[in-house]
Structure formats: structure tokens, C-alpha cells
């Protein structure tokens, strides 16, 4: 293989693929990127056995087609440090000969591993296929991923549950995540064409994060293909294939309260800032912020045995509340994770001071959050 490619193009492609490579790896081949060149196309592949990322770059000068694998992190570092505008030549004589990289007066040779050892993850049929707008996908991820659990015992919570569901008679595509303390649900209506027969799948956290990064760079539609065990996203020039979490997501609908009738509407900006200020009194992350709610009046307070206490009041103008007085506590970070996703008005729906509470963006009913209160 012998090719010449512009540094910027190679760097961007390497940046994409090397991000799935695990830094600490017990299987040497997984630290490598598979480089293949043919018919003017350079194809880079990296995998951690859970996710495989393939990037195709067209319009490359291919002097001699071929394939090899080289250490992903090292190659990326080198290309990153080359001067802007440099032309990079990759030259591999075949077999276990080292990969030569030349750029201007710089030259390096990298040891390679056999192409045959590189695991393939992209096989298998993916019978369900639909398309999502890049913005839609970003929305679905942003409004749910903060609630993904990191706990190992309930591994089936370590991702976003993507599935088709009924919502008040209409069919919707839904993303749901929960760690037990909070739950986030975001839906797209109508169901994208081709998705209606799909199985419910749990997309792992790492995949969600990679997809979100890639979706940042495009405005185009993203093609999604999936089976019971794998999902593939085509995002611009990148194709990401991931295994799915093999487990059963809990029946989350049962924990979403239906009858919560005490409605508090509060200005997002003022509320979020007040939570931040009041919570600053305590360095302990799990300390609750207490909401004391009365007619069109909200007092936020927090106390720490060591540092003292803090409070802030919000009233008319920022707060609307017509029901009986209520006191309830939430972890500050959980409140902020939700308000970060809300643009203008936050709507809380309470049952009482100890029952799960529903939170929504007053202007965006497609996203819904449930929060477990803490004792205050």
C-alpha cells in the first residue's frame, strides 16, 4: 500500500476512529487501526469489540492499494503534530514490514500487526432501517443520557432504551434512560418510516457518547439500522456499528406518575441559578436542596452541618403555584441535569413531598423527566 493524503483529512478521520480505541488494552490488535486503500478511497477501522467505527475518505491518491494495521494512538499523535497543510505519505511493503510515514522531512516507521488478526464486527444482518435528522438524534441523546446508570449490577440500565411505544394513542419513537433515582424520556413523533417494527434495544453508553460526538458535525440525516443484537449509524463519512446491551429494560411506564396534580411553573434561568447558589453551601454532592412551595412562592434552601445554611426566594413573576403548600427535597445535581435541557419554563408536577415528581419543559412536552425526592 502506498498513498498520499492531506494531513487535515487524515487527522479528522483518525480522530474519529481512535476515540473508540480503549487506552488500556489487553489484546494488542485492538490498539491498532486498520488502514485500507483502494480505488481512491482510504478506509480506516477501529474497534473495542463492542463498537466498530469505519471512516471512508474518498479522493485519495492511491499509488498502490493494500491493507495493514498500525497503533492508533501513536499514529494520531504523530499526524496531529505534523504542520498544517502537510502532505502525508503512507507506505507499506506488505506482510509484517513496518509502515513508513513521510511528511516533508519527517519520517517514521511504525510496527504493524497482521490484518487477518483484526476482528470484524460489521457482519450480520440489520433488518430494521430508518432515518433520523441529526438534530432529532442530538435531542434524543441530550435529553436522556445524563440519566444513564453507571452501576454494574443492573447492567441493563447502562444505556438508552430505544423503542417504539404508544403515547396517548399515537405511535412514537422513544429514548429512555434511568439510574433508579431519575428517569428521562424523550420521544419523536411520528415514528420514522421503517422503525415501526423494530425491537426495543438498549444502546450502550459509550456508543451513545460516540454517536453524539459524530452527530455534532453534521446536519444531514442519519441512517440507523438495527437487529436484536447490533445497531449501526451512518453519520456523514463515518459508519459506527455497536453491540447492544443484552438485557431487559424495566417497565418504566409504571413508575411515571399519572395523577400528580400540584403544578409548579418556574422560570428556568432563575431557578437553575438559585439551585446552584444554594447548593454551593455543601460540598457533599448527595445533600438535598429543599423546595418549600406556597402560593406563587418558592423558597430553595440547603444546609450543611459543617458549613452552615443558605436560602433563596423566588416569587410572583418567576413562580406560578396554586395548590396546597408543599416541601420536597432533591439532589441539586439531578435538578441541574434536567434544567440544563430546558429552555424557558420548568414545570414540576408533584403528588406529595415523598413521591416521584414529574418535570417537563413547559414548551416541550416530548421530553419528560421523573425525579425521586430525598428526605429533607
Amino acid at each position: 500500500m502506498k498513498i498520499t493524503v492531506e494531513r487535515a483529512i487524515l487527522l479528522k478521520a483518525l480522530a474519529h476512529v481512535q476515540s473508540v480505541v480503549e487506552r488500556r488494552n489487553t489484546i494488542p490488535i485492538l490498539a491498532n487501526v486498520l488502514i485500507a486503500a483502494q480505488d481512491g478511497v482510504l478506509r480506516l477501522t477501529a474497534t473495542d469489540m463492542e463498537i466498530a467505527l469505519v471512516e471512508e475518505v474518498a479522493g485519495i491518491e492511491v499509488e498502490r492499494p493494500g491493507r495493514t494495521t498500525a497503533p492508533a494512538a501513536t499514529l494520531y499523535e504523530i499526524v496531529r503534530k505534523l504542520p498544517e497543510g502537510a502532505k502525508v505519505q503512507l507506505d507499506h511493503g506488505g506482510g509484517d514490514a513496518p509502515l513508513a510515514l513521510r511528511a516533508g522531512r519527517f519520517h517514521t516507521s511504525l510496527s504493524v500487526l497482521p490484518v487477518e488478526d483484526f476482528p470484524s464486527m460489521t457482519e450480520g444482518k440489520l433488518p430494521h432501517r430508518f432515518a433520523l435528522g441529526a438534530g432529532q438524534l442530538r435531542d434524543m441523546v441530550d435529553r436522556t443520557r445524563f440519566a444513564i446508570s453507571t452501576e454494574e449490577t443492573r447492567y441493563y440500565l447502562n444505556g438508552i432504551y430505544l423503542h417504539v411505544a404508544d403515547s396517548d394513542g399515537a405511535r412514537v419513537l422513544r429514548a429512555v434512560a434511568t439510574d433508579g433515582h431519575r428517569l428521562a424520556r424523550m420521544q419523536v413523533e411520528p415514528v420514522p418510516e421503517g422503525a415501526s417494527g423494530m425491537p426495543g434495544v438498549i444502546v450502550p453508553r459509550k456508543t451513545v457518547n460516540e454517536v453524539r460526538k459524530l452527530a455534532e458535525e453534521t446536519q444531514d440525516e442519519i441512517a440507523v439500522r438495527l437487529s436484536d443484537t447490533k445497531i449501526r449509524f451512518d453519520i456523514g463519512t463515518v459508519q459506527l456499528t455497536s453491540k447492544l446491551i443484552d438485557g431487559t429494560f424495566p417497565e418504566y411506564e409504571r413508575v411515571i406518575p399519572r395523577g400528580n396534580d400540584k403544578v409548579l411553573t418556574v422560570d428556568k434561568q432563575q431557578f437553575a441559578e438559585a439551585v446552584g447558589r444554594v447548593a454551593a453551601i455543601s460540598s457533599e454532592r448527595s445533600r438535598p436542596v429543599k423546595l418549600s412551595i406556597d402560593r406563587n412562592h418558592l423558597m430553595l434552601s440547603a444546609a450543611s452541618p459543617e458549613q452552615g445554611q443558605a436560602q433563596e426566594e423566588l416569587d410572583d413573576g418567576a413562580v406560578t403555584y396554586e395548590s396546597s403548600p408543599l416541601e420536597i427535597g432533591f439532589q441539586a445535581r439531578y435538578l441541574n441535569d434536567i434544567t440544563d435541557q430546558i429552555t424557558d419554563k420548568v414545570e414540576f408536577r408533584f403528588a406529595d413531598g415523598s413521591a416521584p415528581t414529574v418535570v417537563q419543559d413547559a414548551g416541550k412536552p416530548e421530553a419528560l423527566y421523573v425525579l425521586m425526592p430525598m428526605r429533607v
Binding site: 452501576e151 439510574d179 433508579g180 418504566y252 428526605r375
Partner: protein, 420 residues
Amino acid sequence: MRGLCRDCCAEVPGTVASCPTCRGRRLVRHAELFTLSVAHVDCDAFYASVEKRDRPELAARPVIVGGGRRGVVSAACYVARTRGVRSATPMFKALAACPDAVVIKPDMAKYVAVARRIRGLMEALTPLLQPLSIDEAVMDLRGTEALHRAPPAIVLARFAQDVERAVGVTISIGLAPNRLLAKLTAERDKPRGFAVLGAGEARDWLAPQPVTLLPGVGPALARRLEAAGFTRLGQLGALEAREAARRFGEDGPVLAARARGEDSRPVDPSRETKSISAETTFEADITALDALERPLWRMCERLGRRLREKELAAAGVVLKLKTAGFALRTRNARLPSPTTLPETLFAAARPLLAREADGTAFRLIGIGAQPLAPAAEADRGDLADPDAPRRAARWQAVEALRARFGEDAVVQGRGLKPPR
């Protein structure tokens, strides 16, 4: 006989009916009063007392701490106890017996903070302090007389007053020559008690008591003892060590000694209850994962029961394996929230076991709870597992059946061997 006044903590002469200094009538007299040094301290109806302290208007009312999603009583105040309400009574029964009770949901953070304050006061008395649970501790005041310029009995009387004044709850103290007798003695005078049991009278006092009085003699062991004709501690204490070992195995001699009131365990400040576990050695070594799962499941059941008995829960599990070559392997996992449920313990331990079951032959499997958490925090359920409280209730029902009809009354399928 010299004694002390529990109101002004002064020593009183042997003849008076009330304290010459303060006229108090709460006098304690005992021949060994000023030589004993091991004290068992127990807070009276702890959670309920803390709640009453914070809401003085409830002083005369029956107060039950508990309920919430678990549906059992965590603590009942002494007013509620007169109506037959006890810890671990199902809430519906408690409310039937005591319909006017004030039910308060447990606030563990508050109780832990109060317990810490009391522990702080104890730490000022002696370094030989061993907490046994949130509201119980044993301490040895031996050798502190010069420091406090008073014998242990007087230091303890002052301590009880300090706790009442500074913390606002009452305690009961048992003063005795060793840990076992101190614990048993503390039970004799509650609430707000101060009981003394000397070495000279211990054996006579124990002899007519039922064997179930001894800590560690649960329903199963009691049935075994009874079947062998031992119902009173006097009978058990009369056994010689060799005979006790023959009848009741390697723990037999210790059991007989305890029945005589002998206990050589020192108060060990490093020995706070840090883990509870259950383990079993196989008749023949086991290699296959599915064959290892069966004893693991049974140990999870046993661990769950031990946790509930001690009013504790597992916030994490430790899997213990011993290979055929006697190499020990332990593996830990943290639980998302504390539990006493066998299936949750099993779900956490099974992946650990699967990683170890690599063809190695094992001779022993065990599971431990570590770290521990208070029972009130266990199995409350969350958004991803709303059914945990129901499963906890189901286990309580299973255990009630087992207590009544025997271990095998209800068995979960995965504890059984598949038919050949």
C-alpha cells in the same frame, strides 16, 4: 453495702434509703459495684426516643418509627410497647393494636448523627469501646479510675446523665464482669436502667433462665438443645467441655461456658461488626458454574436471613471461594442500594462467580455483606425497580412460614438439584 446515687452520682453509705446529698431515691447497691468495669450500653427505643426528643408534644403518645414502604416497625416507644408493639411487627398489626399511634418515617441520617454524639461521649471515657450497632456498645473502664478520679460505676452514672442532658435520649446500662453478663444485665432494667450483676451471683442467676436467653441461640439451635433435653441454662452449664463438644460440636464447649456466665472475649475497639456472611464447604469439590450456583443461592438465602435478624442490610457483597488446593479467592461488588433480598444478593454475586468458574475445582463457597447498611435503608425500591418492597414483603412471608413449618416449607427452585 456501699452504693451510689444515680441522681447526683455520689457514693452513698450502706444504710440510707435516700441520698444524703441530693435526697434522690435512685440508689444502686451491689457488693461488687465498685470493682466491676465492663459495661453494656443500650439506648432505649432509640429511633422513637430521638423523635420524641424532637417533638416534645408526643411525649405521652405512643410513637412508632417505621412504615414507609417496608411496612414493619423499626422502633416503638415504651408507650407503644405497653400495647404489644415491638420492633419488626408488621405495621398493620401494630396499628390494629395501637390505632392512636403516631407513625413517623425513619430518618436514618438523624439517628446516625445522634448515635455519633453518644459515641463521642463514650470515647471520652475509655479507649476500650466497641460499638455493636447504631444504638448499642460495650466498653471496658478497667484502669480508668485514676483518670476519672472515680470508679467505673460512678463514671457510668455520670455518663448516663450526660447523655440525657446533652443528647436528650435515655440509655440503659448493664455493669458486669464480662461482655456477656453486661449485655444480659442491661436487658434486665430498661428503660433508663442501671443494673449490676456480679461474678459471684452470675451462675445462680443464669441457671433457671431459658437457653434462648443466650445471644446466638436462635430458634434452630434452641430446637436442637431442647430435643437433647436442655431447656434451662443451668442444665447446659453443667456440661463438661468434652461432653459439650461431643453433643454440640466444636461450638459446644463455648456454649456451656456461656451458660455458666463465662465469657473471655475482650472489648475490642477494632471489632465493630463490619461484615456478616454465610459459607458452606462441599462434600465433593465442584467445578461447573451451574452446580456452584445452587450452594451460592442457598448461602444468599442464609445471608439475607442473618442480615434481617441483625437489622442490617448489605450495601455490597463479597464472594468467597476456596479452591480444591485451599487457595482463597474473594471478589467484591457494590450494590446500587442496600438489600437483604436473596435474589438481589445473588444477582450481584453471580457475575463474580461466573468470572471465577473457569474450570477450577472449588471446595467452599461463601457470600458476605460488606459494607453494611441499616435495615431501614434496604429494599425501598427505585424508579428502575419499583417492586423491591413487594419482594421484601414476600421474603418476610417465606421466612414466617419457615420459622413455623421448618426450613424446607418453602424452597426456591434454583436451590434444588435438577432431576437426573
